[in-house]
C-alpha cells in the first residue's frame, strides 16, 4: 500500500460486527399483581389500546355518564401540556373573531340571499371579519336554493371526474370503498 493510502485509511471500525441485544422493557414491571393461595400470582394484563366492551350502568365506561374528572379549567385545551397533542394542529382556531352586531348579521344575510354566486361565505367572512363557518350558520340559504347550488356543483365535479383516466378513477373508487369500511 502507498504512503498516501496508508494515511487516508481509517484505523477504527464504525459498525459493530454483531447486532447488540435489543433492550425491551419488562412488560410485567408496572402491572397489577395479586398473590393468591398456594403462592400463585394473578397478573392482569389487558391490551393497552383496547377499549372495554363491558359498560354497566353501575360503572359506566363512558365519562359522559360519570361526573367530569376536573371542573372546566381555564387553560387553553389546544395547548394544555398535560394532555396528548391535538391530532390536527391545522384545525386549531388561530384567531378570535369579534362578535357581530344584529345589523351586520342582517346585512350579511341580505347580501347572501340576493346573490349567492357573488357573495360567497368566504367573501362575506372577509368583509365582516368573522369565521366562514359562522356565515353559513347564520346567513344560510333556503333548503331549495342551497340544494340546487349543491347539485350544480356536484354536476360540475362529475363532469371533471369523467375526464379522468382509468388509473385515477380506480384509485378514487378504492379510497371511497375503504371509507365504507371505517
Amino acid at each position: 500500500m502507498s504512503a498516501l493510502a496508508r494515511t487516508l485509511r481509517r484505523c477504527y471500525s464504525t459498525r459493530l460486527p454483531t447486532r447488540p441485544p435489543s433492550r425491551v422493557p419488562d412488560p410485567l414491571a408496572d402491572v397489577p399483581k395479586l398473590t393468591l393461595e398456594d403462592n400463585v400470582t394473578f397478573i392482569h394484563r389487558p391490551p393497552p389500546t383496547m377499549p372495554s366492551p363491558e359498560s354497566f350502568t353501575t360503572s359506566p365506561s363512558s365519562p359522559l355518564l360519570r361526573p367530569p374528572a376536573q371542573p372546566q379549567s381555564t387553560t387553553n385545551p389546544f395547548t394544555d401540556p398535560s394532555l396528548p397533542p391535538v391530532s390536527r394542529p391545522s384545525l386549531i382556531p388561530k384567531k378570535q373573531y369579534p362578535q357581530l352586531t344584529d345589523q351586520a348579521i342582517r346585512s350579511m344575510r341580505d347580501l347572501r340571499h340576493s346573490n349567492p354566486a357573488k357573495w360567497t361565505c368566504t367573501k362575506l367572512a372577509a368583509k365582516f371579519n368573522c369565521a366562514p363557518g359562522f356565515v353559513s350558520l347564520v346567513a344560510g340559504l333556503k333548503s331549495g336554493v342551497w340544494k340546487q347550488r349543491v347539485r350544480n356543483t356536484a354536476d360540475l365535479h362529475q363532469r371533471e371526474r369523467d375526464k379522468w383516466g382509468e388509473k385515477k378513477a380506480l384509485a378514487h373508487k378504492i379510497r371511497a370503498k375503504k371509507r365504507e369500511f371505517w
Binding site: S62, P63, Q70, P85, R88, R179
Partner: protein, 364 residues
C-alpha cells in the same frame, strides 16, 4: 345454467315442504273426492298435495310437540295446539275440498295477540337493559328478538314445521302471497298467546324470555353512523361538557405505505373514546364511534334488571297470582339521543324557523 339451478332449488324446497301424512291418522283412504264414480263421465279435479295439506296432523304428533315445548300440561286435548299450528291460508282450499265440513279453527287472532305480547316483552327488556340506546336501534333490536324471521326460526327449532297447516296462496289484488316463513312465524306467536290465555301473563312472559329473549343478538352491528363526529359533538353539548377534541395518542409510519394512528377523543380531561386507523380521519371517525358506543351500550347488570311487567300480577280474569312479587324499583331513565341522525323528524320543518320577510314585517 343459473336459471336451471334456480329452478332445481325451488323444486327441491317444494319437495321438502310437501306434507307427508301417516295413513293411520286418515279416516278413509283413498279419499272419496279422488275416486271417479262409475257412472260419471266428467273428469275429476283433485290435487293430492292440497288434500294432504288440508289434513290435520296426527294427534299423537301434536301431543308430542306440546310436551317437547313444555306445554304438555297446558290443555287436556291437543285441539288448542292444533289451532295454533293452523294458518288461515288453509281455509280456502279446505272449503273447496270439504264443502260440507266446518272450517278448521285458525291461529290468526292468537298470532295477533301473541305478536303484541312479544313486542311488549321485548321492548321493555331492551329498553330496561340499555337505557341510553337510541330509538332506531331499540326498534332494530326488538325486530331481531321477536321479528318475523326470528319467530319463524323459533317455530322451526321447536319442531312445528311438520305440524304447520298452510297453503301457498298466490298473489292477489287484495293481499300478497303467503310465504312459508310467514305461516311458520304465526305458530310461535300463537303459542305465546295460548300460554297467556290458559295461564297468566307471567307465564307468557317467562315463555317469551326462555324462547325469544335468551337469544344472542349483536347490538354493536346495529349502531351505524354517517357522521359520528358531528353526532358526538351534539351529544357532548347536550350533556353540558366541553367540546370534544381529537388528540393523537400514538402513531407510526406516518409517511409510509402503512401508517397506524391511535387517536383519542377528549372532552376536557376525560377520554370519551379511542380509535385506530391508517389515516388520521379514519382514526378520528372510529374514536367518535367508540365514544358513542360506550354511551349507547351501557347496560343494566342482568341481576339488577327490573321490568315494568313485573307489576302485572294476576291473570286475564283479574285473579291475583299465588306468586309473591318482589317490590318494583324502576330503573334509571336514559338520556334521550340528539335529533341529528336519529331518523325521527328528519323531514319535518321546525315551525320556529322564521323567514327573513317575516322578521322584517315584525320589525316594521
Amino acid at each position: 345454467m343459473q336459471n336451471a339451478q334456480r329452478r332445481l332449488a325451488s323444486t327441491a324446497t317444494a319437495q321438502k315442504l310437501k306434507p307427508t301424512i301417516p295413513l293411520s291418522s286418515v279416516r278413509t283412504f283413498p279419499p272419496p273426492q279422488a275416486l271417479k264414480p262409475k257412472d260419471s263421465k266428467s273428469p275429476i279435479f283433485f290435487d293430492s298435495d292440497t288434500w294432504a295439506a288440508s289434513q290435520p296432523p296426527p294427534p299423537a304428533a301434536v301431543t308430542a310437540f306440546a310436551h317437547r315445548v313444555g306445554l304438555g300440561k297446558l290443555t287436556t286435548s291437543p285441539k288448542l295446539i292444533q289451532q295454533a299450528c293452523t294458518h288461515e291460508s288453509i281455509t280456502l282450499p279446505y272449503s273447496k275440498l270439504h264443502p260440507n265440513k266446518p272450517l278448521p279453527l285458525t291461529n290468526t287472532n292468537l298470532a295477533t295477540l301473541g305478536n303484541s305480547l312479544l313486542g311488549l316483552f321485548a321492548t321493555e327488556f331492551v329498553h330496561a337493559s340499555y337505557p341510553h340506546l337510541p330509538t332506531r336501534v331499540v326498534k332494530a333490536a326488538v325486530s331481531a328478538y321477536v321479528g318475523p324471521t326470528t319467530c319463524a326460526d323459533v317455530a322451526r327449532e321447536m319442531g312445528a314445521a311438520p305440524l304447520l297447516r298452510w297453503y301457498r296462496a298466490p298473489n292477489t289484488l287484495l293481499r300478497p302471497a303467503v310465504l312459508h316463513h310467514e305461516a311458520l312465524s304465526s305458530v310461535s306467536r300463537a303459542l305465546t298467546a295460548l300460554v297467556y290465555q290458559e295461564r297468566s301473563i307471567e307465564a307468557a312472559k317467562s315463555f317469551a324470555h326462555n324462547y325469544f329473549l335468551s337469544r344472542e343478538i349483536d347490538l354493536r352491528a346495529m349502531i351505524k353512523f354517517t357522521n359520528p363526529k358531528k353526532a358526538l359533538a351534539l351529544t357532548v353539548e347536550k350533556f353540558g361538557r366541553e367540546k370534544p377534541i381529537s388528540r393523537l395518542l400514538k402513531e407510526t409510519g406516518r409517511f409510509s405505505v402503512s401508517p397506524v394512528f391511535v387517536v383519542g377523543i377528549y372532552s376536557g380531561q376525560d377520554k370519551l373514546g379511542e380509535g385506530f386507523g391508517s389515516s388520521l380521519s379514519m382514526a378520528e371517525f372510529r374514536a367518535a364511534e367508540d365514544a358513542l358506543q360506550r354511551l349507547y351500550l351501557t347496560r343494566t347488570p342482568p341481576d339488577q334488571l327490573r321490568l315494568p311487567s313485573q307489576t302485572f300480577t294476576g291473570d286475564v280474569f283479574g285473579n291475583l297470582s299465588s306468586l309473591k312479587s318482589t317490590p318494583y324499583i324502576p330503573g334509571e331513565l336514559g338520556h334521550a339521543e340528539v335529533n341529528y341522525g336519529s331518523a325521527g323528524r328528519s323531514s319535518i320543518v321546525n315551525p320556529a324557523n322564521r323567514t327573513l320577510s317575516e322578521e322584517e314585517l315584525e320589525e316594521d
